[in-house]
Subunit: 671 residues, 2 copies
């Protein structure tokens, strides 16, 4: 018999196949790529799990979500409830960071089926003597599956159900307490277990909520023009911590190549004293596991990391898998590069553009295994120096299978590590990097500027399937990207983009001090590169320059820290704001975030127009957030400082960008 | 190294894992439930296969669909093309009926990548000497992979690409003929194969296109009131064939139980001469493998099947897995039933309703394996008697895993068999039965009556994923269902529902002669049961009764046979029909079907209102059907007989239901 199964129906090939498992479980959500990839959660989340669950005939079903630590341990079960159209739903409370697996289980509950039939028959005035005898057998059997004192109680019910007075017997059978007892000892002999155990990764808190600040250490020398060191940078830590950031991200800290070094503003030839781009990694002084001597020693770096930690800040390193022509790998591992017929190594190019200071690694090398091991060892090296956060440069130009393997194997030993993918590329590649294991992803936020663009993008990010695997990190600027809006929008636009980044996404960051100083000059009209970019030269920053927005950044970061609602990204709901009746406002964007316990509700409204005051009617659908529609509530503007009493669902708001282009309201209920 | 993979990244556990396979293939469509179920096609179909295909970096990709007979044989390859956003598409020409498997393959084409770079560099005026040397190596290597004379030709190109005159060398490198040659011998050393081989079942033609006629043989006795026999029924075959049907479907032909037999109009007690319901299967005279003696012998039945075959008609048997209390199984296999504490077998019930003449089989029996084998053997028994088409009664009240196993194992030996699921139940269950292997499914058509209901339902059926596994069969009536519309709509409504069933769905059927005689009386107001239902008594039918619609049925079946466009269901496109400008008509419904070769185009318009004439402007988006927008064309009404010359996309149509409530136009092009 079993052989016949094996032959023809592949998925019935199970050693413990039992044809009496009549319940079907399918179309499980979340499930990524047929279970190939884990879904990601944060501790404390209540994960909604859905599935189609049904059986032949009219029997009543019970179903549960089962969850346990990956690879073993006891299954914990959470009851599911039927919704519409055979769709079931349950909630899985997500535990401590780590890897888990979950699956579903469902079974026919013959007792409940029987009880429903009994009540209909009684209602129709039918004799139910025989039915009661049948039901008593279910109860007796449950007694056999249960410990004392429940067993005794069940046996007592079974006796009562056989009472000569049929109405008394029916009363006993219909007792709510009996049903509760029976639900505790179901007959799961023929229960169906969903065929896959799905992976669930609960991530370290920093994966879900982080505020990044990028800076170039070399610009922080104690004297003007002098190359800054890690020791010099220590004085910045109180400042950065004071602004409320918890990740400080450094561009590559390794020795910089000499050959084909780029000069100021990306000039093809560098002058003798120019520092070069720190992304042209490697020189005679070492490669990816070395520190650029002008920054200090490895010990200096470790001291910097330790000092940052004391300020509650993680140091993020920039890992860029590419080499300057002077990188030691070129001589030590020539097989990891593509050689040209003239005996030179192929440099990076995007024809007709050439990047001669950068040699890409060849992921099609016959020696790919050693290449993979070496690249992974770079992460491990820095992890040993105390680094747990990595910003990975252009991961979409390295083979995807490498990331999948490298991140999974590193996180097995170091689950606290965070990998941010710096990929500004096509959607499918971004998605795949996230599924390959990157904890966070740079995003299209920089280029989502209108109300409609922002809403559409956030809806995509906060919906299935993206919300299960991609954690965006919103950056209003980077050393590579000064968006046109910032070039022309002035200080109010910097505040607008700051508030959007920090309230739309729980992970956000900025390249400073360019951002807080509102640096806005591009290298040329129509370009997104900064003029005199810090990538190619040592800068001197006056942090107290008039017009800076340090106070606003500090305030926003405090609001983020104090309000749990802002520590998640997928909990967003956009609100309607009308310019006039029935006509939606183009410039005012509004959205609510609510913490998973429902208590913390933050309503943000931003005027996207930095030049004009706008007002409109905002619709706050109270009941959707568990608020009684008739209640009065106080809107406390955490950003502007004012406080307003609202009632009803429609309220007028107005924002003058010259004063403050946004409200970040906390909703407070009045007794 | 490999051990590390195995440990952490489950889906990289492949013996032939090669990290250099840089191309990613995912989100393949069609793929049902992660590849668990096959998709279904008809011979001659061109199956569109899509996937996300991309790689790291900027290299150019080639991709192909691979298909071969299930379990082995040579892979045939069909090139795919990139569409938007890394989505690729290809077309798989579906072969002869049988089981196949398909998968995808993609690889980086270094030559094409190189060639694109070359052309950009040349355009930018760069020196390309070194590039030409690199390219020549690709061409030489391809020569090594190719047979003569292509090898020689490639070698010649390689030489030309090294010509001292760079412009001549570039010309050689850019030769279209070289590219075509190179595409024939790609370097697939690191090609990615999609991780699953997906199953594809090409079904027997009758699975996709069939016209069913249901009749009760016992009503066709030669003398009024006498029980009809198979021999008597032979005289009906020319008539049914003449009407254009190719399946004749008989309700259960087995011995009928005596105990609790139902009388006329489902009366609880049958009179001594009443024949009973033929779904109460089994008596002392036998069970599911026996013939009801009053119908004749097994040999008579076989003769009937053979005679039907001579008329091009398949005989479909009704397989109902349930037993009358007199069925031999009750004594022979008591373990297949549920016994009650009073020593009786549990009958079917839907509390408070009782069906005491029907005993359900217990799919939770400890002896389930033998039950499964016995039930399957019933199909095999009738297959041996020449039956290949089965209508299965209420399959959704039997365990789903049974169907999956039974149909798969039967079809392995008998791929020509067709199983029609008679399940009028919830959508998930209907879908699962189709995926479990049922060839065709009864549908909700009977209860989809308004324009919007019909459009929405057909859109669902003709879209992914349903179109890949569910083949609906549209029945305007059955012995159980006389829809209210037919009770009150008169002859025009019978024609309306006939035309809808036969043009919306390539598989359709009717319960005759009730349908062609426009029988319309229900057993009681608000009920869908027929008055004096043939299910409980022997009827006498006057096939020539005035007002019958036999001519219309005959014509419609001929139109279906002569027009390939109507032999598929998922090829439907609904058209807009306006009552006035910009206001869509409520009563006129219009749709186009086009054959896969594009040549046969049928445009159907139905007036859903049987009482009033309606006219409107119909929009026929010519270019979507490959028709030049400026062309003139003749609309030949195959149903009404008239012919109209149309031009442009908007044309006026009008239908008087008293004359003919529908047009079935064939589009003829004029030179």
């Amino acid at each position: 018999m079993n052989n016949t199964f094996r032959h023809t129906v592949p998925h019935l090939i199970l050693d413990d196949f039992d044809g009496r498992q009549r319940v079907i479980i399918e179309q499980v959500v979340p499930e990524l790529d047929g279970g190939k990839y884990p879904i990601r959660c944060m501790e404390g989340e209540l994960l909604t799990v859905e599935a189609d669950i049904f059986t032949d005939g009219a029997d009543t079903i019970s179903a549960a979500i089962c969850c346990r630590p990956a690879g073993g341990g006891e299954w914990l079960r959470y009851a599911m409830q039927p919704r519409e159209n055979d769709r079931w739903e349950g909630f899985l409370p997500v535990g401590k960071p780590g890897r888990y697996e979950y699956t579903l289980e469902a079974w026919i509950d013959h007792f409940i089926t029987w009880k429903k039939g009994l009540s209909k028959k009684v209602e129709a005035g039918q004799d139910v003597l025989l039915d009661l005898r049948i039901g008593a057998v279910f109860v007796e059997k449950a007694a056999g599956r249960s410990p004392e004192p429940d067993a005794l109680q069940l046996k007592t019910y079974a006796v009562k159900m056989l009472a000569p007075d049929q109405s008394a017997a029916v009363t006993a059978a219909s007792d709510e307490a009996l049903e509760l007892l029976m639900l505790r000892y179901p007959d799961k002999a023929h229960a169906t277990r969903y065929e896959k155990a799905l992976a669930l990764v609960v991530e370290t808190p920093k994966a879900g909520f982080s505020s990044w600040y990028e800076l170039f250490p070399r610009s922080w020398g104690r004297e003007p023009g002098r190359h800054g060191t890690f020791r010099d940078c220590m004085r910045l830590l109180p400042l950065v911590a004071g602004m409320g950031f918890d990740v400080i991200y450094l561009p590559p800290i390794h020795p910089i190549g000499i050959t084909k070094r780029k000069g100021k503003n990306n000039a093809l030839v560098a002058g003798p004293d120019e520092p070069g781009s720190c992304w042209a990694i490697g020189s005679e002084e070492g490669g990816h596991k070395s520190v650029h001597p002008e920054l200090g020693t490895l010990d200096d770096f470790r001291a910097f990391v330790a000092e940052a930690e004391r300020h509650g800040i993680s140091v993020a390193l920039d890992i860029a898998f590419q080499c300057s022509p002077d990188h030691p790998y070129v001589k030590e591992h020539p097989q990891w590069f593509r050689w040209r017929p003239d005996g030179t190594v192929q440099f990076a190019e995007n024809p007709p553009k050439r990047y001669e200071d950068i040699l890409p690694l060849d992921f099609e090398s016959p020696d790919w295994q050693n290449l993979w091991l070496e690249l992974r060892s770079i992460f491990l090296f820095w992890i040993e120096s105390g680094v747990t956060v990595f910003r990975v440069d252009n991961p979409h130009t390295k083979a995807f299978p490498f990331w999948e393997w490298a991140i999974a194997t590193i996180q097995e030993e170091h689950p606290e590590t965070v990998f941010l993918a710096e990929a500004f590329t096509r959607p499918r590649l971004m998605g795949r990097l996230a599924r390959a294991g990157f904890t966070q992803s740079y995003s299209y936020f920089t280029w989502r500027n209108t109300k409609w663009e922002l809403q559409e993008y956030l809806r995509e990010l906060s919906s299935a399937p993206l919300k299960y695997y991609m954690r965006p990190n919103f950056w209003p600027n980077t050393p590579d990207i000064l968006h046109e809006e910032l070039q022309t929008g002035g200080r109010p636009k910097f505040i607008i983009r700051l508030v959007l980044a920090g309230t739309l996404s729980s992970n956000y960051g900025m390249y400073g001090p360019a951002y807080e100083l509102c640096e806005h000059l591009p290298v040329a009209p129509g370009k997104e590169e900064y003029l005199d970019s810090e990538k190619y030269e040592i800068k001197q920053w006056d942090l107290d320059r008039p017009g800076n927005i340090r106070a606003e950044i500090t305030l926003l970061n405090r609001i983020r820290k104090e309000n749990q609602a802002l520590q998640s990204t997928s909990n967003i709901t956009f609100l309607r704001i009308d310019a006039s009746a029935g006509h939606e406002h183009d410039w005012l964007i509004g959205y609510v975030k609510q913490s998973s316990d429902g208590q913390n509700i933050i309503l943000t409204v931003v005027n996207l127009d930095q030049s004009n005051t706008h007002g409109g009617w905002l619709h706050f659908p109270l009941e959707r957030f568990g608020i009684d529609a008739g209640s009065r509530y106080r809107m406390e503007d955490l950003l502007g400082g004012a406080s307003y009493e609202w009632h009803g669902e429609w309220n007028y708001i107005e924002l003058n960008p010259a004063v403050m282009p946004a409200h970040v309201f906390r909703v407070n209920f009045m007794s």
